[in-house]
């Protein structure tokens, strides 16, 4: 090799010093006292290389950047030769920060994909390639002891969420979950969650319909609306309670809430409303009495109450 750059550490903390040496062999070219090693950062010539002729005839230059504040820069070792500079080697210098602790880790059990989807906030940019891994194990009680291991969940590049597939889950047993962030300058670990997958189930909203008047269904009284609803099909096996909210479409009145409704109703009459007024209604449900997350509110249903 003609010449090569050696770097004790190619990646340092932003603002820390970084030192590089370049060694040029005799077999590369006739090295005389006038031979001069020059350094370039990207395309800029850099002053300050300390050069010395070593006993074995090689030429060495060492340069230190006291406060290196480029997240990424190309360092070239060059030699004056003829009337120009010859590039003999290049090295990529990087600077950044060790990963901060990932936070706001939260998980939801998705019954459509049958997977536990966890997401987190990575913290400030480290300027370095940082890999996140969702780690977990099955446990009993309060997650103190590991029962069975679960394979690491590696998110797609740059994503801040990962989904643990159903085959690695025991839906009704405790599991400990945390996120590990790793880059060239260090590793950090989020605080641990201890949860039962089924207790963080998030349901899809129920479906809410108006009950059209028919031979079996008498038309609603003035100031009342006739409704029926059904929970999301994949959650039929889950005992749930639901909430209904309604507000007149016009004006600024806030939502009125009707709580603790059953997860399914063939016929429900909502009264105490203003007659011949257009209302917007929405419904959501949650697993109950066992724990779970509220679903989002269902799409808006717009109905008008009968005249007096």
């Amino acid at each position: 090799e003609c010449g090569y750059i050696s770097l004790p550490a190619p990646i340092v903390r932003l603002g820390d010093p970084i030192t590089a040496s370049c060694i040029i062999n005799q077999n590369c070219t006739k090295l005389g006292p006038e031979s001069q090693i020059r350094w370039k950062l990207e395309t800029e010539l850099q002053p300050g290389g300390r050069q010395q002729h070593l006993p074995n005839g090689t030429l060495q230059s060492t340069i230190t950047f006291p406060h290196f504040n480029h997240s990424r820069a190309l360092l070239s070792c060059c030699l004056h030769w003829g009337n120009g500079l010859q590039i003999l080697d290049q090295a990529e210098l990087q600077a950044g920060y060790p990963p901060t602790t990932p936070h706001n880790l939260s998980c939801l059990l998705n019954l459509t994909t049958n997977s536990l989807m966890c997401q987190w906030e990575p913290g400030p940019n480290t300027h370095l390639s940082t890999h996140f891994t969702l780690k977990s194990f099955k446990s009993r009680g309060s997650c103190q002891t590991q029962e069975d291991s679960i394979p690491d969940c590696v998110p797609e590049d740059g994503q801040k969420h990962c989904s643990i597939p159903r085959k690695h889950l025991q839906l009704y047993q405790n599991m400990s979950i945390w996120v590990q962030a790793k880059n060239a300058l260090g590793t950090s670990t989020s605080s641990k969650l201890c949860l039962v997958p089924m207790d963080v189930v998030k349901l899809e909203p129920p479906t809410l319909w108006a009950l059209e008047p028919s031979p079996e269904v008498a038309p609603a009284q003035p100031g009342c609306l006739r409704l029926h609803w059904e929970t999301w099909k994949p959650s039929l096996h889950i005992e749930q309670k639901c909430e209904l909210r309604h507000q007149p479409q016009r004006g600024e009145s806030s939502w009125n809430l009707v709580g603790a409704l059953p997860s399914r109703s063939l016929q429900y009459e909502l009264c105490g409303l203003l007659p011949s007024t257009a209302y917007t209604l929405q419904m959501r449900c949650t697993r109950w009495p066992l724990p779970g997350h509220w679903s989002d509110w269902s799409p808006r249903l717009e109905l008008t109450t009968a005249q007096r």
């Binding site: 090799e1 003609c2 090569y4 077999n27 590369c28 070219t29 370039k40 990207e42 395309t43 190309l74 070239s76 060059c78 030699l79 030769w81 120009g84 500079l85 010859q86 590039i87 003999l88 080697d89 290049q90 090295a91």
Partner: protein, 174 residues
Amino acid sequence: TALSPASSLPRSFLLKCLEQVRKIQADGAELQERLCATHKLCHPQELVLLGHSLGLPQASLSSCSSQALQLTGCLSQLHGGLVLYRGLLQALAGISPELAPTLDILQLDVTDLATNIWLQMEDLRSAPASQPTPGTAPTFASAFQRRAGGVLVVSKLQSFLELAYRVLRYLAEP
């Protein structure tokens, strides 16, 4: 097929070769642009010393000079040069993930042109018994050397193609 007066070569063969040379030049230019943009290796003159230590061979087109054009010798040198450069390009494998697709297409296009010329030599009964071997490829000891080698190899290839284009244009003149 219509022959070009300046040679006993079919005109369609020469037009195809000219098209292929233009394509390889375009591929080469793209690789040079990316090596400059991504790795700040923009001038082959800055890599002469490294080139000496890598010992990159050069292809000659002496039989193709306008003063002493010797057709079969010229075709053979064209083919030999392309085989040499294909070998050098293959030695650059692993240059970098971003450059790999461009390098692959460049190699395929160089191979296609070499094959095109070889088959024409066979049609002219001027092809030697076996195809020339690319010779020992240089070893690139680091990613930097592969990239610097890429700049040097492509710049030599472009000069080679410049000459080749002139000869083919002359041969294709109606």
